[in-house]
């Protein structure tokens, strides 16, 4: 039995250090235990106090019963990448509690479920034992509900310990459970109970505090998949085809919700969109290609295994010149790999997706905002260049919660590309579907059902007039034009975001979610060793010419990415003059969780010849499990 007054085994002295708005909280639970609400309430309440935050869910590839960790990072300087060290652990899961505690750095705090008896494990941590079962029993009778409500208690405890604004917490709770007043009431009670318990039993001994500030006002919290969904809707997508796969499913599922709300014709009650859950990814992209050919703005969304399956159709799209947008929310491969872990591992295989001199266009969003804006842009580009466009997101971006400025309403009208109309036909004379009339490699196209001349679309050899041809000259002319079309694309695709630091002789290149750790790492490099860097963030492939001048400016350029094979660096090697390619170095992180700044900083420092203390090996956060899993 727990003593009436909770024992607080901790470093004997309450610290006088105050660490304000700069810590990571990790909640260790079991998946399927309904902790998501509690975690989001926690995240949002800190966010609403004006403190920059991010929330990342590390979950297993199964449905219920296995360990899950939710990490909230709050940082007054706006660093929201993953951080290696956990400052505040909430240990709810018996399976992992020991390992979780052992991997903490000294000085960290632990709220734990009292029966787990963790306090004996270390004497350099602050422990706050909470008798969750006892407390929840007072709140709720129903066993099923109790399991859910139980989690809200740790929110209450944390509110007390970290000094989180309780009003914000309640507002966050209402937001989260808005339409269920009973649930709100029950959870509020749990909050109160947790708060009261902590107030009553704990003396604050850890240094972590939350204080209101003003760094998030007006901003939103959203995950990248939802952001991409909003983008697709705003891009006027009309045909959505998909097949469920983690971590991309929620993109289309959210999109369906939004479309149902905002894209039903007022007068008729009918839909201005079609969504089809296809039988597999081959059918999904086949439908998207068919729809793109017939003039729709079409898209599909998938992850690595789906992209592999789409390979044949992707080549057809390239060669027959059919627009389609494909979201690849990357996860860890090869094969089924780690379906619930993040990676940037599909870059090379997507660039060359399909046999026989095929090349694909790729966009690389780094933020939820770019998930939104690049989704819009992707549809324009697909139609402009009449080719598949791959938006390369990842699990970290797609499924985790990020803050962002609110998205801006698009200024540009839809770009439907070179669709033949009467006027153009007049101007160009005879219609040749694959004629390079304008010298940019992009031909005009007509669309079934429009009043323009028809053509026969095919994946086999064809001439300018879209006639079947096996003639070497026709073949060569056409495939050379395709290459020149992609050359044209280089400077249409989203420009890189480049920060030139005049003091820097070192450059850093990154893309996608790696960005956030790079931002922090660049500051670490300056602060710790006065290593100045410039930064080039890739937004699209093929690359702009600016890449060359960036590399030219710097003696060494670190390409930082989340895969084993230095995939982006490889693509750059193929494009850059060898002298410049020789300046490229790699920082690679591939273990399933998002990259962090420390890893980058240390790796660059070591490569630059600095001495770096061996940091404690990263906690692996995933206990052995012999179950078969994977999606």
């Amino acid at each position: 039995m727990a003593p009436e007054v909770a024992v607080q085994e901790a470093p004997s002295q309450p610290t006088t250090r105050r660490i304000v708005n700069d810590f990571s909280i990790q909640v260790a639970t079991v998946n399927g235990s309904g902790s998501q609400t509690a975690n989001l309430v926690l995240l949002r309440s800190i966010f609403r106090m004006g403190i920059p935050v991010s929330g990342k869910n590390l979950f297993p590839s199964n449905i219920a019963g296995l360990p899950t960790w939710y990490t909230i990072r709050a940082n007054r300087d706006g660093y929201i990448a993953r951080k290696q060290d956990i400052d505040f652990l909430v240990a709810m899961n018996a399976q992992t509690a020991q390992e979780d505690v052992v991997s903490l750095k000294p000085g960290a705090a632990v709220v734990y479920d009292e029966p787990l008896n963790l306090a004996t494990l270390r004497d350099d941590l602050t422990f706050y034992p909470v008798p969750f079962d006892k407390l929840v029993a007072g709140v709720c009778r129903d066993a099923k509900l109790r399991r859910l409500v139980r989690n809200m208690i740790y929110d209450g405890v944390l509110a007390s310990l970290l000094r989180i604004d309780r009003a914000e917490m309640e507002r966050a709770l209402e937001k989260q459970l808005g339409r269920k007043p009973k649930a709100v009431a029950l959870n509020r009670e749990a909050l109160d109970v947790g708060f009261a318990y902590a107030e009553q039993h704990f003396e604050k001994r850890d240094p972590y505090f939350v204080e209101s500030m003003d760094a998030t006002s007006g901003q939103v919290l959203i995950d990248g998949n939802a952001a991409a969904a909003i983008g697709a809707m705003m891009a006027g997508v009309t045909v959505v085809t998909w097949y469920p796969i983690t971590p991309s499913s929620s993109l289309c599922e959210t999109l369906i919700d939004y479309l149902r709300q905002h894209r039903i014709d007022k007068d008729s009650g009918k839909a201005t969109f079609a969504v089809v859950q296809a039988e597999d990814e081959i059918a999904a992209i086949g439908m998207a290609i068919g729809a793109g050919w017939a003039g729709a703005r079409s898209m599909t969304s998938t992850s690595g295994p789906g992209v592999s399956l789409m390979s044949e159709f992707a080549g057809l799209g390239y060669y027959a010149e059919v627009p389609a947008v494909i979201f690849d929310v990357q996860r860890v491969g090869p094969s089924t790999g780690l379906p619930t872990r993040t990676a940037q591992g599909d870059v090379l295989s997507t660039a060359f997706l399909s046999h026989g001199d095929t090349r694909q266009l790729m966009l690389f969003p780094s933020s939820v905002e770019e998930c939104y804006s690049m989704a819009i842009e992707a549809f324009d580009l697909a139609e402009r260049f009449q080719t598949p466009v791959f938006v390369m997101s990842d699990l970290d971006l797609g499924m985790n919660t990020w803050m962002s400025q609110p998205f801006r309403y698009p200024e540009k009208p839809l770009d439907r590309g070179k669709v033949l109309d009467a006027e153009t036909l007049d101007r160009i004379g005879k219609f040749g579907r694959y004629r390079d009339v304008d010298g940019d490699g992009i031909p005009y196209r007509s669309v079934p059902g429009d009043p323009m001349p028809a053509y026969f679309c095919r994946g086999s050899g064809h001439n300018e007039w879209a006639q079947y041809s096996e003639r070497p000259d026709d073949y060569r002319k056409n495939i050379d034009r395709l290459r020149s079309k992609l050359e044209t694309a280089r400077n249409w695709l989203p420009a890189p975001v480049v920060t030139i630091n005049r003091k820097a002789s070192i450059g850093v290149i990154a893309y996608g979610t790696t960005h956030w750790a790079v931002v922090e790492s660049r500051d670490q490099l300056v602060n710790e060793e006065d290593v100045q860097t410039s930064y080039y963030r890739v937004c699209a492939y093929p690359f702009r010419d600016a890449l060359t001048s960036f590399v030219e400016r710097h003696d060494r350029v670190y390409v930082i990415e989340q895969n084993r094979d230095a995939q982006m660096l490889s693509l750059m090697k193929l494009d850059l003059a060898p002298e410049l390619a020789g300046r490229l170095r790699s920082v690679l992180h591939y273990a399933g969780h998002p990259i962090d700044a420390r890893t980058i900083t240390d790796s660059i420092l070591i490569q630059e010849g600095y001495r770096v203390e061996k940091t404690r090996p990263q906690p692996s956060h995933v206990p052995q499990s012999a179950g078969v899993g994977g999606e």
Binding site: G236, G269, V276, A278, A283, I289, G290, W293, S298
Partner: protein
Amino acid sequence: MATVQTPAAGKGKINRIGLASQEYRGTKTTLCAGCGHNAISERIIHACFEMGIEPDRVVKLSGIGCSSKSPAYFLGSSHGFNAVHGRMPSVGTGAMLANRRLIAVGVSGDGDTGAIGIGQFVHLMRRNLPIIYIIEDNGCYGLTKGQFSPTADLGSTLKTGVVNDLPPIDTCALAIELGASFVARSFSGDKKQLSAVLKAALSHRGTAMLDVLSPCVTFNDHEGSTKSYAYAKSHDDPLGELDFVPYFEEIDVDYEPGTTHEVELHDGSTLYLTKLAEDYDPRNKLQAMSVLQETRSRGTFATGLIYVEPTKPDFLEMLNLVDEPLASLPQDRVRPPEAVLEAIMNDLR
């Protein structure tokens, strides 16, 4: 392209929308002389001409194979998409989603459909997508030089003497089982029946699956083949005579009561089926399945309209799409106004 002129009757050289039969032709065929597929193309041209189909509403779809080449040989002024092997169903589905006003004519082979494409076939049938799905069935892979396809009959032989030891997939039985709302079987050599079936298919809304025996004269027309002309001719087992009366023509048929089934199709056309010895009603699914099984076990194949469910809702209806083609909706109907984005953003704070 085609300007739509009203009536003028499909008798002389000009059809009801004012087009000559010539305007339904495609480029010159590159298939073997005598190939069944060419005969089917002729029937498609004929049926579209007679029905007064507007060529610019038609999309022709296919996979890969000799059969899949044939869309180039009819309706030359219609759009066409010769996609990848076995995947015509998905491409056709996408096209119809993009533009529900289109008339989709898909042509596939027994290899294209029965082997690599069987998965997409299954799901297309299940969705009852409005499309005419023609399998030009020769029991072999013509374009890759004559290997057995999954519709080859047990015991059928290749030219080389190799015997097929796997049972055939009966695409008609499969289509009915899976939910297609119009299922027929015919023979490229039976002009009359094939014409009636094609016209009826054009009058149907939903998946019209037509398995058409279409002998491969180069690789599968020998003795020992069960897909040769000779074999098809002698084992054709029609379920009755078909008489098709299009909606735009006066009905002047006159059947003795009880001797025919009368099926009214989606566009108002009517199909009359004379009853044979057995009273076959193509609206009866169980009867359809058992007639297929029974003829198969007798070694013959039933032809004609095997199954029809004229009022079954099609896939596009179930999606509750706006009437206009999605493809051509203007920006203001597909991009929600700024207020919507603002509301969404607000909700995320």
